[in-house]
């Protein structure tokens, strides 16, 4: 097991990217996929795609992120790849519906972000569990619902819309997390 005590930097840092690029040509860059929900953990066990077990124990002022370089030497590097984050995109039809939706999301302590006239709820569980809490709003079509898969990373915003698929009504997507 390899212990990781620090993030060495980003794969985009000039002093790292050159060495990383060289290793990529030799197939020496190993990737560890971390679910978005786990990125905030300072301590966790993970296994790279190459099978290297990692015991990550970061100081509290450091965090994992997409593209974080955890290890690099002349032969090999280990880079974090953050998983896809799933969001429920909720579009209220009226100001009254928006107020009610805002109340519900706050009351349920959901992690949200705003984009234009839509409220995005980060899904840390099954979509149906979130939609069930908004049954009346969704059932009466007072809010529109879509599920958005968003890649993490520096250019994540550009990739959001491409992965969007709209749903006119709530139903199970069969995704268990």
């Amino acid at each position: 097991m390899l212990r990781i005590d620090h993030v060495l930097g980003s794969r985009l840092d000039p002093d790292i990217s050159e060495g990383l690029h060289r290793l990529e040509h030799r197939g020496g860059v190993d990737v560890v996929s971390i679910p978005v929900a786990d990125l905030a953990r300072r301590r966790l066990l993970a296994t790279t795609r190459g099978g290297q077990e990692l015991a990550i124990a970061l100081p509290r002022n450091e965090k994992l992120f997409d593209g974080a370089v955890l290890f690099i030497d002349d032969e090999r590097a280990i880079v974090v790849h953050a998983g896809t984050e799933r969001w429920l995109r909720l579009a209220p039809r009226s100001i009254a519906d928006a107020i009610e939706l805002g109340y519900q999301a706050g009351n349920l302590h959901w992690r949200v972000r705003f984009e234009g006239e839509a409220l995005f709820v980060a899904m840390e569980g099954r979509a149906e569990d979130y939609m069930a809490r908004l049954d009346e709003l969704i059932g009466s079509r007072r809010i529109g619902v879509a599920i958005v898969d968003q890649e993490s990373g520096e250019d994540s915003d550009k990739r959001t819309s491409a992965a969007t698929h709209d749903h006119a009504h709530p139903h199970s997507h069969g995704h268990d997390h």
Partner: protein, 218 residues
């Protein structure tokens, strides 16, 4: 590649400079403090250097209980008064708890583990990962076998669900096996441990889970 032989990527195998931080949350009376009292001798026997931060509403009741227990150096127990909403200081704004942890780390430089006991709350209570690396949610059989079914965020999202007071199951009309099976089902197979903090049942397993998850000891 020689990586397997490398004990540490950056520090030559030295201990990390910061203690692991774990949370212990759950409803009022489920046995959070009792679980900590039971864990203390087990962690001590395993040679883990640890401290505890307790959260109470408007008193330091739980901290005083641990300090008076004789189980742990009272200086290793710190108290945070949470005010009206126990979840606020472990989730929305955990700065009071982070500061309490930092103070303990400054006072005890070799600290490996800090346990944050939340104030008793409801099933919606969860910990911020800015505060802890991993967290336990404690429920008890006397609270009713329907608790897992209610899918509270605490029950669903925690890294380890502890079902405490299992000795009371026959006295409160709970079929323990069904309750545990249901708990595992709603958690998608993530860990559930049955305990009786008073007798010590299951406590070694909880200590094992902590050791493996954040101390990286098998």
């Amino acid at each position: 590649m020689g990586l397997q032989q490398t004990p540490s990527a950056t520090s030559g195998g030295a201990k990390p400079s910061v203690a692991a931080r774990i949370g212990i949350g759950g409803p009022v009376g489920s046995g959070k403090t009792a679980l900590i009292e039971a864990l203390i001798p087990v962690l001590q026997r395993r040679g883990v250097d640890f401290a505890v931060v307790t959260n109470d509403l408007v008193t330091k009741e739980d901290a005083e209980r641990l300090r008076r227990s004789g189980l742990i150096d009272p200086a290793r127990v710190s108290a945070v008064e949470a005010g009206a909403c126990p979840h606020t200081v472990i989730r929305e704004d955990p700065t009071l708890n982070i500061a309490a942890g930092d103070e303990l780390e400054a006072k005890f430089p070799g600290l490996e583990l800090i346990l944050f006991e939340s104030g008793g709350d409801n099933l919606a209570s969860t910990f911020s990962l800015d505060l802890v690396d991993w967290w336990i949610f404690v429920i008890d059989v006397a609270g009713g076998d329907d608790i897992p079914r209610k899918r509270g965020p605490g029950v669903i999202k925690c890294d380890l669900l502890v079902v405490n007071k299992v000795d009371l199951a026959p006295h409160v009309g709970v079929v323990l096996d069904s309750m545990l099976t249901e708990a595992e089902r709603v958690r998608g197979g993530r860990p559930v441990i049955a305990t009786n903090a008073r007798s010590g049942l299951g406590i070694e397993a909880v200590a094992d889970a902590i050791s493996s998850a954040v101390l990286f000891q098998a």
